[in-house]
């Protein structure tokens, strides 16, 4: 394609977009909404995945050893834990070690636990356990609770499981909803291009008569769809960029311990995914109309 022709096609496409007014606006809006939702889900998904990874790291079972347990029981318990097929890591924390930790955590208020060393230590020996698959944690915790020499077990139930479920449900709902919106976007663009074909029918006829090639006649319509889709993708990218920056700024001042994906990474991902998708939706819409209504 000659560069001059390229400018001609884009120019004609822009003229049509301006002339179609509200139809163009509606087409762009539906593409923008579709991609805004997709983009938002992606942003959410990235962060949920990141947080889940974070939480998974922290997901562990703490097993408190019964104070009355005999030395033999304790040895057996350790052997059973280490031998458990789903166990990734078994770490023994003695009561002394636990107290040291507590002191460290308390920092300049460590005087609070002063005098509890040795025999007066109120803490118990414990095991910190990590399962191979984080999702197995509840099952494993249930099993080892019954082992002899165990006082009780503790794990982050209530937080972990809903989080795993949440990501799955969100993904499916989002996908179905977006598929519907994407189809709407394609048909709206197809309808807009159809309108352009109708408005330009005289030009098309003259073009055929003076010997313009079929593709020369088609390209402006293809470009119209492409540009509609492109603009429809740029808008959500801008919205997500500003929205996410604001959200991150808010999170940093209010819930500072949470880790989030950086805005730069998010934007890069949005541009890589939303822009091509917008263009694809646009070109898909215009090809439908070019095929059906542009008899060249």
């Amino acid at each position: 394609m000659h560069i001059r022709s390229l400018f001609y096609f884009i120019g004609e496409a822009l003229k049509s977009i301006a002339r179609n007014g509200w139809m163009s606006v509606a087409s762009i809006a539906v593409v923008a909404i579709t991609l805004l939702i997709l983009g938002s889900f992606m942003v959410l998904n990235y962060n949920v995945t990141l947080i889940t990874e974070d939480v998974k790291e922290q997901v562990q079972i703490v097993l408190y050893v019964d104070e009355e347990a005999s030395g033999e029981d304790r040895l057996k318990l350790q052997q059973k834990l280490v031998g458990h097929p789903q166990m990734e890591e078994v770490r023994f924390v003695s009561r002394d070690e636990a107290l040291e930790r507590l002191k460290r955590q308390l920092g300049d208020r460590s005087y609070l636990v002063e005098g509890y060393e040795g025999e007066d230590n109120p803490l118990r020996d414990s095991y910190e356990l990590r399962t191979k698959i984080p999702e197995d944690i509840a099952i494993v915790a249930g099993e080892i609770k019954e082992y002899p020499g165990v006082d009780y077990v503790d794990y982050g139930s209530g937080v972990v499981e809903p989080l795993f479920q949440f990501t799955g449900v969100v993904r499916w709902m989002g996908l179905i909803f977006m598929a519907g919106l994407a189809v709407t976007a394609v048909f709206l663009i197809a309808h807009t291009i159809r309108l352009t074909v109708y408005i330009r029918r005289k030009e098309i006829m003259i073009m055929k008569y003076v010997g313009a090639t079929d593709w020369f006649i088609r390209w402006p319509f293809v470009f119209e769809g492409l540009i509609l889709g492109f603009i429809g993708a740029v808008i959500p990218i801008i919205i997500i960029y500003y929205g996410y920056n604001t959200a991150v700024a808010w999170a940093q001042t209010n819930i500072y311990f949470v880790s989030l994906v950086s805005p730069e990474d998010i934007i890069e991902e949005m541009v890589k995914v939303l822009l091509p998708l917008g263009v694809i939706l646009g070109v898909l819409g215009s090809s439908i109309s070019v095929r059906r209504f542009l008899k060249v």
Binding site: K202, M205, K208, G211, D214, I217
Partner: protein, 251 residues
């Protein structure tokens, strides 16, 4: 020493050497049927040479427009062959049709001008959409407008022009790409007799400059006035074909 050489001509060279030998347009045993019961043209045989001026006359529904449409590849014949520049256009691939049309200008009864742009842009449109460089467009459009006598109206819009002037714009648009053949389907159908005579004189002028003219018309006085070749079509068949003919009505 080589005295005699047998030269094997390439296809391009054949075109160059032999083109002048062929009739510009050679129609053989052409039929055009629409569906099963409408026979628009039956067994048409015509030859039109380079530089001729041909009137095609006949009553309404005789098949004049159909004949021009076949030449312009707007429709394909049901049977027969149509050679243009020695090439059978009935066998053209779809993508070759635009190239044929660049060599066959066409003018209609309805002016088909684009009302959202001026005269210059209307003529330039025909060049733009076949990828002509702007330099070339700026050169050729004024020449074409000058020939049709509309140089000073180049920046007027079509609705600011009279019917005759609008038709001149269409002629300028049809010849701006310098086609070998200019075809017109009832070009004066919407014009008064005086203006019609002006358009016909313009065609004559264009013909004198070397373009082959094929004009389908009902304008009896004009046909009689110009004393050119007249082909009479009735009920889809050629019933008369005379040099320096006059308009004859079969009925």
């Amino acid at each position: 020493m080589q005295i005699c050489r047998i030269i094997q001509l390439t296809a391009a060279e054949k075109g160059k050497y032999f083109r002048g030998w062929f009739s510009m347009i050679d129609i053989r045993n052409v039929y055009k049927e629409y569906g099963t019961d409408i026979v628009a043209l039956k067994n048409i045989n015509l030859e039109i040479d380079r530089g001729e001026f041909v009137f095609v006359v006949g009553s309404s529904g005789a098949g004049k427009s159909t004949l021009l449409k076949l030449l312009h590849m707007d429709a394909r014949p049901t049977r027969g062959s149509i050679k243009v520049f020695g090439r059978d256009i009935t066998r053209l691939k779809n993508r070759e049709v635009p190239l044929l049309r660049r060599n066959l200008g066409m003018v209609f009864q309805d002016f088909h001008l684009l009302s959202d742009r001026n005269v210059f842009e209307n003529v330039a449109f025909a060049l733009r959409v076949i990828g002509t460089p702007p330099r070339e467009i700026r050169k050729r459009v004024p020449l074409s407008l000058e020939l049709v006598g509309l140089k000073d109206k180049a920046f007027k819009r079509p609705d600011e022009l009279s019917g005759g002037e609008q038709q001149r714009v269409c002629v300028a648009r049809a010849i701006v790409n310098r086609p070998a053949v200019l075809m017109a389907d009832e070009p004066t159908g919407n014009l008064d007799p005086n203006t019609s005579m002006g358009i016909m004189k313009l065609f004559h002028e264009i013909n004198i400059r070397g373009t082959t003219l094929i004009v389908a018309t009902h304008a009896k006085e004009l046909v009689d006035h110009f004393q050119k070749r007249v082909i009479v079509v009735e009920n889809g068949a050629v019933v008369s074909d005379r040099e320096r003919g006059v308009y004859i009505n079969a009925h």
